[in-house]
Symmetry: C2
Subunit: 289 residues, 2 copies
Amino acid sequence: MAKLLLGKPVIDSLREELKGRIAALEERGVKPGLAIVRVGARPDDLTYERTALKRAAGLGIRARTITLPENASQEELMDVIAWVNSDPSIHGCLMFRPLPEQFDEEAVCDALDPAKDVDGIGRGSMAAVFTGRGPGYAPCTAAACIEMLDAYDIPIAGKRVVVVGRSLVVGKPVSVLLLDRHATVTTCHSRTGDLPAIVRKGDVVILATGRAKAYGRDFFHPGQTVLDVGINVDEAGNLCGDADFDAIEPIVDAITPVPRGIGGVTTSMLMKHVVEAAEGMVTPSCQTA
Amino acid sequence: MAKLLLGKPVIDSLREELKGRIAALEERGVKPGLAIVRVGARPDDLTYERTALKRAAGLGIRARTITLPENASQEELMDVIAWVNSDPSIHGCLMFRPLPEQFDEEAVCDALDPAKDVDGIGRGSMAAVFTGRGPGYAPCTAAACIEMLDAYDIPIAGKRVVVVGRSLVVGKPVSVLLLDRHATVTTCHSRTGDLPAIVRKGDVVILATGRAKAYGRDFFHPGQTVLDVGINVDEAGNLCGDADFDAIEPIVDAITPVPRGIGGVTTSMLMKHVVEAAEGMVTPSCQTA
């Protein structure tokens, strides 16, 4: 029986920490502000938006949604980004992706001020992750993996971590974040040969491929910690992760379930990044006031 | 007896390729231009500068050195970078590092136009490496590793590559470049436990730690290809790599010697990047002229 690495205690602990930091900001006259930019109305986006708005409200972060119709133009969206960049009451911005086909998505992501890019979508944030220096933020899901390991006191330095997946949203950034935390990192993907043998070498394994229940018994042994970043729907219509949870939970030491694992922590990281961005806006003169 | 992966055939082949591309540019009225920025006069920098100037002259690249005294100010150097950025006859810039202590080196690197950052020192180039999209260039040494593997037809896709070293100049960028070429990449460093066992798992091993003759027999077995990026001086005062060459050359399949291996290819990559930068300056109207 593996220890279940639940998101809730991490979310609760972050909430308390952020409440204190937000109170300190408010004493200095700063209310953290989050802009959510949505094009169209995909059900997944709406679900995440509701969660984010609720979480922000509970913390005292001023969140607002800017919506554009699905057939909006590049120019209209770039105008929204320019406004987000220039509005001092907005400290961070979350934009739902993928954008509809008519958009040059990379150009939109790169136009967002890296100091407000709290979900790490632009080139500035990518450079910040790669170099370890700002301005910019890691994508929230990648940051949530590190937060989860820290919250459960799972050592990283000197440990072998195997990351399965090489996307710019999770696999690549989490690999670099772990490397900077002194892990020995192996990054795998669809072209990796003998994946089970490689995954078995990890003290910590991060699954981020979006393949429902694809990683079972063959990949794991006792002593391992598994972070399952996948959010998929199985044949019965239920939410599930990339791990074949029922098969491997009896084997490994610790595992994040799906749902109730990493997913909710991702939203907390969004809030944390907004607070960090707002703290960055506090000028030295304000801080000593 | 390992196959020696010598730099010379790669350098020769790149020279021929670049001569053709430079001739095509000249037909369109473009002469590739390289600016070398040097603060002070460290012997290592002067040596590399002589090599680069000679290589450029042989190819028909217009290279010039801009020197500042060792006690120059941040402002003076930033003025030089601004001039490099604005001069249309300069397509690429190489700046020697580390800069003397009085400089904010990161600010200088980040000020260089990523489109002219042919040695990949700024945030823009880091983002280009991380995301796989420009503008920007990989550091020449990291690029030379990939060039060397390609030139000797050593397969990367689906292979296991172990990179020892996690610097922004070699380890990190070459890890990402290899990942994008579909290798399964493990990045190791001074905090890695049981390094010999991990290095033995690599089909290809890249040594980039700057530790003279630090990797010997224990780390290798037959079948492996070793790229030795280290340039060190041994106790007898001779140039040597990170690999204990005499010990492992009888064991592995292929290895780059030091000297006569990767080093000279790095200079070729600098020239290649300058040509690519110049080609980027050719507007579509010129191309069809």
